[in-house]
């Protein structure tokens, strides 16, 4: 069961500011999602090893060769705020 306190905790970690009404609504919605996913718990996984990935793939590598980077203008083109060559953000201590 997800409680309102869980929603507040996760919201704080994600720096989301939720109204009381939103907290109630998300608590209900998250519980509905979890309940749906609970179906998986009914499966017998006794002899199934845990998996970290959905695809039967392993060891995908790239060689250590440098390629082109973006220009500073391109990098900052989505920045909400900038100062000279930097992203400008509120300070967090």
């Amino acid at each position: 069961m997800i409680t309102k306190a869980d929603v507040e905790h996760v919201a704080l970690l994600g720096r989301l500011y939720l109204s009381e009404e939103e907290k109630e609504r998300y608590t209900d919605q998250l519980n509905a999602i979890l309940e749906y996913a609970q179906m998986l718990q009914k499966l017998d996984t006794e002899n199934v090893p845990p998996t970290a990935h959905a695809l039967p793939m392993q060891n995908v590598f790239r060689e250590d060769c440098a390629g082109d980077c973006l220009t500073n203008e391109e990098v900052l083109s989505n920045a909400p705020e900038r100062e000279e060559e930097y992203f400008k953000v509120p300070k967090i201590i």
Binding site: R15, Q58, F61, G67, N72, V75, Y86, K91
Partner: protein, 478 residues
Amino acid sequence: MTRYEAVIGIEIHVELKTNTKIFCHSTTEFGGDPNTHVCPVCLGLPGVLPVLNKQVVEYAIKAGLALNCEIAEYSKFDRKNYYYPDLPKNYQISQYDLPICKNGYLEVETGQGKKRIGITRIHMEEDAGKLVHQGTITTSPYSLVDYNRTGVPLIEIVSEPDMRSAEEARAYAEKLRSVIQYAGVSDCRMEEGSLRCDVNVSVHPVGTGEFGTRTEIKNMNSFRSIQKAAEYEIERQIEVLENGGRIIQETRTWDENKGITVSMRTKEEAQDYRYFPDPDLVPLVIEREWVEAVRNSLPEMPEQRVARYIESGLSEYEANVLTASKEVSDYFDQCLKTYNNPKMVSNWIMGDLSRLLNSVNMEICDCRVKPAQLADMLKMIDSGTISGKIAKTVFEEMFNTGKDPETVVKEKGLVQISDESAIAAVVDEIIAANPKSVEDFRNGKDKAIGFLVGQIMKATKGKANPQLVNKLLKDKLS
């Protein structure tokens, strides 16, 4: 009064010396204008796919082998979620429950002899960006972000809480740096941030089995400050306990100027990184053949060099001093390439060279005298061109100017006088001027000859060939 025991564990982040970042082809070059070494992958733009740099895995395995670790057969990457502006994706790709290496150890020289410090694990992860502030973080109204470092490959080496003093903590960090440098996986330049230490400290009364609450100290940028910060923190915690207080688990930062640790956050939300396997990255299955190939590619490690040096005639002490830093040991080996007299080279490196380096607080890699130049100078002593005494002057000039020994000797007119007739003239002069000493010598006072030699050397400004002076003097007096 209660006696306390300290317990210290260290986490060290080491930047690997790859050409490119861990999951993309952006360069890892140090410096560079802000936000110019980034691509869509390191910015975490929608739709990008990180792909693992094979060299990172190879270096991590190498570091693990150098630190006597088990190399995992199966390993994977996880997302460590936290919200901070130095992370463009709001998560850091790291490793959680299946790190690439575990269960290693490092042998450290301590006051009580050799001690084995356990290595819990080594995992691979990406570095975060850099926040820049006008003034300090507390006075600046906002933060500026440079993502050039984002995605630079790191390994984090976590020790067991096996250290019991600040000296041991320092010895561990220094030895670890040296081993990593020998393994050739990182430059370990602390001033460029390619080696960063976090030290965990707790204290408990001697005799009680249970460890005390620990604090974590960050922001130390030298081995000296690691030791001083640990010393300070041990004393601080004992004082708190002695006054009936209790230790709060927290992160503290080392203030180098004030020489104290300061609490970084008083009220910290319990760490909750919500790790989960990164769905963008497939697992690693590390074949044993690969591990063996990496093992075979490991360069000569400090223990092997020590053995080789002792074999070549150096004392154990000399061998240990020379190999404590890879740069010094490399310098020594370079000298031997053109001047194969280990004892002589060792004397000069541990003597005049390290004294001069210390006097200007310089590392050997920044030294202007190249190994071949020191070797050339030593050859000049052997050939009699300069005396051992004059060589000290020559070397100091080489150290200050980077000039070749031949040039210094020529410019300063320091060539040794080996011309018999020239020395004979001075010998006659000194004999004539010091009848008392001559008399003493003839009466069996051997010491008197030392005085006469000294006078001759003084008259020739130290340039006379000492062997010739001795020979001529004895000839003339007998």
